[in-house]
Symmetry: C2
Subunit: 145 residues, 2 copies
């Protein structure tokens, strides 16, 4: 796909919104438009492996979005650290997965965006399952560091 | 502790090395010297809650390091995205926990550092358990997005 056809996200918020919209719609092309093509991108799936490099990230999303699973994603509690050329957003994702069975999960996601020639693009997505905040009192025995 | 006594990390690598050294030594004061005091810091423990704000991050590490657990941490496969004032490092942590029983885990960790008046400081640490890279072929059924 030629670069001219790509979306130009003028803020990291816009790129992040496009990412989650594409995910909810199962739109692989739109999802990949959000990812940077210039950096050594990283994707950590919940409980999954760490994927490094655009080709591998491309392949993992293609496979995930090739099924008939439908997602609803509700974001909350965004915390942002932003500079002129980089933005780190940490959000809580509440996911409902409508496949053969309905499942739901609460995830912590760290999304990193970099501003390049074509606007803001994602360079890292790190999502992991999160226990309920209410369980905080019971934290110590369970974490390994 | 007055600001003048704080370490001044001149690179994000230096700050990250101090973070893992403090963790391996169980040195709470040294660990907290790495954390930024100026930002809305975030810490996501493996499988644990998302902790936001310096006081809460302080408390969680105090509790974790108050036990007699001893850690060995081996880092590898670092991927960095860096600008003049922000750095994102994504590393693979191989942890061995020497407590009453010996456990080990492989984690993906995203560490974000910001350059401020006192050098580079951590503003985010997101660690999550990672399945073996060898399991990648089996990815699709297990991830929720």
């Amino acid at each position: 796909m030629p670069a001219v056809s790509k979306a130009n996200f003028t803020t990291p918020q816009e790129a992040e919104a496009a990412f989650y919209r594409a995910l909810a719609e199962g739109n692989f092309e739109a999802l990949m438009e959000v990812w940077s093509e210039e950096d050594e991108v990283v994707c950590v799936h919940p409980g999954g492996p760490r994927i490094v490099g655009l080709a591998a990230v491309h392949e993992t999303w293609r496979r995930i979005l090739s099924g008939d699973t439908r997602l609803e994603i509700e974001l909350s509690q965004s915390v942002a650290t932003v500079s002129a050329t980089m933005a780190v957003h940490c959000v809580v994702e509440r996911l409902s997965v409508h496949g053969q069975t309905k499942r739901s999960a609460v995830l912590a996601a760290t999304n990193v965006f970099v501003r390049g020639a074509h606007g803001w693009r994602m360079v890292l997505h790190h999502a992991s399952p999160m226990q309920d905040q209410a369980d905080f009192g019971d934290l110590s025995p369970r974490v390994v560091h």
